[in-house]
Symmetry: C2
């Protein structure tokens, strides 16, 4: 259940193009709110709101030094998504293999014209 | 822009635990609406609504034979997400490499006690 809620939050966090732009920027290195807000034409309060969604999703972390809050990527930001996707792909490949096997088991008179 | 809208739809489609359960089931092979709705305790109209979101996201496809509509995974269901994640990880690794390089370039008297 915890896992499901975490995946809900991560996928929701990444479902917004503006937030993905922030993640694209942060993947290249840490940045301040101002540096993240300007390229996407966002006001600071709006940027902070989006960054909170990314932080709640475990995708970014922030720390404050003096008056400046700096954001950076969680090192394992995409771990939960990777795991979920990998399991689906493994299952899809297995299903595909079963399909091929079933086709090969079809009697010859049906597969040859 | 098209790419951004597609990613919005895919990530939104996967942000719901019920829809992910459907994807988990479909990764193992095609299924009817009924087969998809029952394990997640969904009514058919609700299941159809969720399946539409997955279909709009390009994650599943459906075809109708007689009265039965069957759903299956798009073969490249996760292609766009994979591409986006791969680019972010490449950037994160490059940023990490630059950090290591910068640390190694620190004068010895500062790194050794």
């Amino acid at each position: 259940m915890m896992q499901a809620q975490q995946l809900d939050r991560i996928f929701t966090a990444l479902s917004d193009a503006g937030r993905r732009r922030m993640v694209e920027r942060l993947s290249k290195g840490p940045a301040t709110v101002k540096q993240l807000a300007e390229p996407v034409n966002m006001r600071l309060p709006s940027a902070l709101k989006h960054l909170k969604v990314l932080e709640d999703g475990g995708i970014v972390v922030s720390h404050k030094a003096g008056r400046t809050r700096t954001y950076s990527m969680q090192p394992d930001a995409f771990g939960a998504i990777d795991d979920w996707l990998r399991h689906r792909k493994t299952a899809m490949n297995a299903a595909f293999d079963r399909l091929i096997l079933a086709m090969n088991e079809t009697p010859e008179e049906e597969t040859q014209p």
